[in-house]
């Protein structure tokens, strides 16, 4: 009789974030992804203070050096300990460029991704939630989908470069411009996906329940809808980061990106494609950096999604 009354034994109450962390800890991929991401972020942030070589410093006597490991398969290769990852055709240091390029690429990737997510989620949620705005907002997405990015960028450069340049400097201005353009030209898929999910969520009973307790639309979106569309947003985020880094490189490639003395991974990759056969490391290194970053964000996103989902967390 005694043990009838008490319920299932209780786990000690814990903070929500501790729970998320606990869960994340068990996701090997997420841990590795997160670890690598932290590593690479620290590297690009503080690397330049440790590896103090100026990435733009041209030393044409030391040009076309191979990475140091190259000695392993070719004893006579031109290498130097001063340039562990080799140098490019102008003798600029590979490692220093990789670090400096990473800074820009990561910054552009993250900023553009966040902007994309912000606009996409907002439009998607609003379109899904307010029936009256659905039509106009979806037509707006159509419009943005059909805007060609190149002329858009050229227009933006023409209109805004000067003011941004004088306020934020050449790099800062261009950074804002590029992030903004990538952001406003890539939020549409997120918006559509989020809208679809919100449309379905809206039919769920807990939304009805929330209405019955007097939840206003704003709070409804914030408390009930957004947390439940986190999973597609995570997918968009991981794909978005990669897409932003790639788009930035394509823009540099087309000559509308950052100033030429401002390396980014994408630009390094694009520049090195010509010499791919002779100096594979020049494409491989930035390529691997991009891929690993994207992969680690992807794994981290997977893990976070699992961890944030209380249903899975319970298991």
């Amino acid at each position: 009789m005694t043990d009838l009354s008490n319920q299932t034994p209780l786990a000690p109450p814990r903070s929500q974030w501790l729970n998320v962390w606990d869960q994340l800890k068990k996701h090997k991929g997420a841990l590795m992804g997160g670890g690598f991401l932290i590593f690479i972020t620290l590297a690009v942030l503080f690397g330049p203070y440790i590896w103090t070589l100026d990435p733009q410093k041209i030393d044409y006597r030391a040009r076309d050096f191979r990475p140091i490991y190259h000695v392993l398969f070719d004893a006579d290769a031109k290498t130097a300990w001063g340039n562990p990852l080799g140098t490019d055709q102008l003798g600029r240091d590979g490692l220093a460029n990789l670090l400096a390029g990473g800074r820009t690429s990561m910054a552009v990737g993250w900023a553009a991704m966040l902007l994309t997510l912000f606009i996409g989620t907002m439009v998607g949620v609003i379109a899904g939630f307010f029936k009256r705005l659905d039509g106009p907002l979806m037509r707006l997405t159509d419009l943005f989908l059909s805007l060609p990015i190149l002329p858009l960028l050229l227009v933006a450069v023409t209109l805004f470069r000067q003011p941004l340049h004088s306020n934020f400097g050449p790099e800062g201005g261009m950074f804002i411009l590029i992030v903004a353009i990538i952001g406003i030209t890539s939020w549409m898929p997120t918006a559509r996906i989020v809208r679809g999910d919100v449309l379905a969520l809206k039919e769920r009973e807990f939304v009805l329940a929330a209405r019955s307790i007097g939840t206003r639309p704003g709070a409804m979106i914030w408390r009930h809808l957004l947390p439940n569309v986190i999973s597609p947003i995570m997918v968009s985020a991981t794909l978005g980061l990669a897409a932003a880094i790639i788009t930035e490189s394509a823009l540099s490639f087309l000559g509308v990106g950052f100033p030429s003395d401002f390396p980014t991974w994408g630009k390094m990759l694009a520049d090195a494609v010509q010499r791919m056969e002779e100096f594979p490391e020049r494409v491989m290194l930035p390529g691997i950096a991009i891929s690993l970053t994207v992969l680690s964000v992807n794994y981290l996103g997977d893990g976070l999604r699992d961890a944030l989902d209380p249903r899975i967390r319970g298991r």
Binding site: Q89, P259, S260, D271
Partner: protein, 544 residues
């Protein structure tokens, strides 16, 4: 023997959009059209004139050019036939001139006909072109790839505003050249077969030809040098080491030749500070704070190592130069004093001029810092140049900010855009330019005072650096009046020196040649930078 060598494949990484050179002046269009339509005479690989449809090149000596230099009389070869079998007559020649000079036609080669008063038919095979003023160089009309003869019968109804509507004619002009178009896909590919009515019965050796356009210089180089899919690739603008690596593929050979194309840095003599109001910014109203100082300009030039630029950017397709007009020999100045880099000298010069190095490593004088914006179009080699030059300039204490602009904006004349090379909202800019044919007169005339781009002219004009020297203008006028070749050369050299070694407003860097490549099995290729590269395609053959 005609048609005995089968098929030949040509690749241009820019694709031709139209086969009528009068409606487009793109190199790709002119050169592809040169397979089909021909001028009366062409320039050969040395820049000398050779007769094509004309019996001979008219000169003052042979009486073809009048003594007063006001008219030139061309005589067609007899027995010439269009590819449809009809005869080529002087009416076609006159029609060609009328076609281009029609004010509504928007003819791209109008400059060739500049100064032409009238074109008269003398007889079936003879025409006379009369100029309003004496023309020391009367070889504008009907000379070179830009100005071929088109068939009157075909284009009769296509003059003026109707020119663009004749798609069929523009895509498949009837010509006298060695090939005839069978299929034209704009911006893609042209299929051609040998012209049955070509004047030399033994030519061309190839029965058919494919002219593929599009892709990249990289891909077209590969297709000729590495995989052998194509026989001829045009203008391989590739880094020298990349090209060398490709050439090691062994399927083909790169060939190079030099013309008048010079990569240069232009110095802006006006102030383009964004703080100035629009309308005054970048005009002669506000002189540049420090580039107006000859010493600064000179120091900037001295700091540059042109040999290294060539080695890195162009290899066999470039050579260092200090001249705006590097060729032909008669016009090229012997100015070579810029060829040796002299960083220390540059520093000394600046010291002397009173620019002292500040705490940030940048020189300044009276509060004016030597800080510059250096712009150019987007292009891998130019960006390498920018990086190198920036480094040198920083070594001598000049701060440099780089900017690269999409070529279609930079070279476009959109008056609304702040980024065009005419508007020149920067301190220095780099690009390449050349002149048509072998006479630099109009080229040098681009630096007269009135050619400066300004708001009133919608920023159109060719005198980018707003250079203005009455002496120079006077000399240009004199050049226009001078007929003697020797005298002309002298004046031209003087003008060249005024712009370069005397004032350093134009800082030439590299004399850029052209590298193309042909398959090892393709014979008869003679690279020509004065005219269409395909000028002698009739002589090409297959090495067996």
């Amino acid at each position: 023997e005609r048609g005995s060598d089968g098929h030949v494949n040509i690749i241009y990484w820019q694709a031709p959009s139209i086969l009528n050179p009068y409606l487009s002046s793109g190199t790709k269009d002119i050169e592809s059209a040169s397979l089909v339509v021909e001028p009366l005479g062409r320039y050969d690989q040395d820049g000398a004139l050779v007769a094509y449809l004309a019996e001979e090149i008219p000169t003052v000596e042979n009486g073809g050019v009048s003594e007063d230099l006001k008219s030139i009389t061309w005589k067609l070869k007899s027995g010439l036939k269009w590819s449809d079998g009809s005869d080529v007559t002087s009416a076609d020649v006159k029609f060609t001139a009328d076609y281009c000079m029609n004010p509504e036609g928007g003819c791209a080669q109008l400059a060739k006909f500049e100064g032409v008063d009238s074109v008269e038919i003398i007889d079936d095979l003879t025409v006379t072109v009369t100029f309003g003023e004496p023309k020391p160089n009367p070889y504008g009309p009907f000379m070179g790839g830009q100005s071929p003869i088109i068939q009157m019968a075909q284009f009769e109804n296509c003059t003026g505003a109707k020119a663009p509507e004749c798609t069929e004619a523009n895509f498949g002009p009837i010509g006298t050249g060695p090939f005839v178009v069978t299929d034209f896909r704009p911006n893609d590919v042209i299929s051609m077969v040998a012209n049955d009515n070509y004047r030399d019965a033994a030519k061309p050796a190839f029965a058919s030809l494919t002219f593929k356009g599009g892709g990249s210089a990289m891909a077209s180089g590969r297709a000729v040098l590495e995989t052998g899919e194509f026989d001829y690739a045009w203008n391989l603008q590739l880094a020298p080491d990349v090209l060398a690596k490709m050439a090691a593929g062994g399927k083909g050979t790169p060939v190079s030749a030099f013309g008048t194309l010079v990569e240069r840095i232009e110095m802006n003599l006006t102030n383009t500070s964004p703080d100035l109001p629009e309308g005054e910014r970048g005009t002669v109203m506000h002189p540049h704070p420090f580039l107006t100082d000859l010493n600064v300009r000179k120091a900037l030039s001295m700091a540059i190592d042109r040999d290294l630029l060539v080695e890195i950017g162009y290899g066999q397709a470039g050579r260092p130069t200090c001249n705006l007009v590097p060729a032909p020999l008669a016009y090229a100045s012997d100015n070579t004093d810029c060829l040796v880099q002299d960083i220390e000298g540059a520093k000394a010069l600046l010291d002397e001029a009173g620019y002292v190095v500040g705490s940030d490593g940048v020189r300044a004088k009276d509060g004016v810092r030597l800080s510059m914006l250096y712009q150019t179009s987007t292009n891998a080699v130019r960006q390498d140049f920018q990086a190198l030059i920036k480094q040198w300039w920083e070594e001598i204490g000049v701060e440099t900010e780089l900017r690269n602009i999409n070529a279609s904006v930079f070279f476009g004349g959109d008056p609304g855009s702040p980024d065009t090379f005419q508007r020149f909202y920067a301190d220095v800019e780099m690009y390449a330019n050349n002149f048509d044919g072998t006479d630099p007169e109009s080229y040098l005339a681009q630096h007269t005072c009135d050619k400066a781009p300004k708001p009133e002219t919608q920023w159109q004009g060719e005198n980018m650096n707003r250079y203005c020297d009455p002496l120079y203008d006077e000399l240009v006028a004199e050049l226009g009046r001078t007929g003697s070749l020797a005298k002309r050369g002298e004046i031209a050299k003087k003008l060249n020196d005024m712009l370069t070694k005397e004032s350093y407003v134009v800082v030439p860097l590299v004399d850029r040649g052209r590298v193309s490549a042909h398959a090892n099995s393709l014979g008869g290729v003679v690279l020509n930078t004065w005219d269409s590269e395909l000028w002698n395609v009739a002589d090409w053959y297959r090495i067996k």
